[in-house]
Amino acid sequence: MELTAREFKAYFKKVIDMIEAEKDYLCELDRKLGDGDHGVTMSIGWQAVKAKLDNDLVDEEDCGKISIAVGKTFLNAVGSSVGPLYATGFMRGAKIIKNKVVLNGEDLAYFWVAFGNGVKERGKAKVGDKTMVDTLDPFVNVIKNKYDGTQDFLQLFHEAVTAAKEGMHATKDLASRKGRSSRLGERSIGVQDPGATSAYYILATFLEFIEDYSRKVS
């Protein structure tokens, strides 16, 4: 598995389309737990990323620089809590793929681990707090524990995304302990966390992307 900057950017464009499609559903989840704007916030951020990709980044071939630009653009457009979280994730990921114009399986594996760890570190949430960490932590653990540079990346990523999905579903039965919804306590049980949901979609979109891509190249 190898991705050039062109594919890396195409993945982000796929995320942009996915967020537009899921915007209302994410708002609906958030209305039950917060102020009902999670889909809107994600859309504002990713639309700003779209403008960046369509203009300043059109000729950019350094995947690290692309990841930094995506993080910073998203952050400046949204602020909020997801801004610093995703920005930190993409900027930590950027460190791993610094100066790279082609990303192989190993680069991608460590990129996503750094991404997940960055989010976790910035937000200081733990597994079970009903946040995006419930999606990201099991995802990161699969890659971290199983990847030794020899496995098929696609297969491994598939497994990691499955763990992410389970983590996302588990947030439904949790009482929130972080962010605005934590004030709800027990009343937050029964609703899947919107932040955990969008984080899963972003990972699942990457899986879809590399599945399509590997089918195309093989």
């Binding site: 708002c27 009902g36 457009a77 602020g79 997801v82």
Partner: protein
Amino acid sequence: MKKLINSPVDVVEEMIEGYVMAHPDYISQLPTNKRSLVTKKANKDRKVGILIGGGSGHEPAFMGYVGAGMADGVAVGNIFASPSPDPILEVTKAIDKGAGVVYLYGNYAGDVMNFGMAAEMADLEEDIEVGMALVTDDVASALKAEKEKRRGIAGEFFVYKAAGAAADFGYGLNDVVRMAEKANENTRSMGVGLTPCSLPQTGEPSFEIGEDEMEIGLGHHGEPGIEKGKLESADRVAERLVRDILADIEINNGDDVAVLVNGLGSIPRMELYIVYRRVEQLLNELGITIYRSYVGDYITSLEMGGCSVTLMKLDDELKKAVHHPVDCPMFVQK
């Protein structure tokens, strides 16, 4: 819900444009960031700059409190969302006079991260010292044992007032922070929600509530409160709010307080004054003196219905700060 807007995606930018146009003597927008506004009425004796900020939709907060006696600058976020570090950093650079800048904001996860990142950038990239004070006045948002989890609501107004006055008194960075922290420490609020607001982008109500219901302890973004019940009279609601506040902070016979009865956006002044009436009666019965009172829309939630009561216990230094004059586009005190 009906909105008098052009397009949901433009509401924040168009509000800022209109605000800057309407108050050319007071406010300027930084050329480096359209979400960064600074005062033209800065007190020349101030050493320390005061920076406030938060999401839009709470007007007059936060941009309405930029002016003489209050904040030197504001970073404006999207609706109910913290501003990103960039506009915060630009304001910091614009208002620093060499003695540092104090950030004042409510205790919300997003604000803590964005203001925290901006403070790191100010220190590393610009060599500007930043002090911070978080507002945590809402007694309904967490138990007293977990006070560090409490969110900031209408009490933010008193913290801005105290810190702004302290800066005008010529205090240094540490003393302005100390004053802001003292104001926060002495301030408690609690609110009641009657009707939801709706975000321009979604149009959906922020929470569900029956025609005959109220929600005690409701947050400023429609976060659910501590209990939902049948709507009661203004006197009963005022008694409940004051009771819960006084259970949380010791204010005794002979103490002085500042009182704020704050409207959340669509409650008539009439109802706010009816609430205030009962608040003052209760405090009088307890021998607590009202040094100064504020009644009106100070920190709102778009068109949300409801109000909050805030008490700040005063010592001599805070009295002096409360008494200090203010001249801002959305708030004037002579």
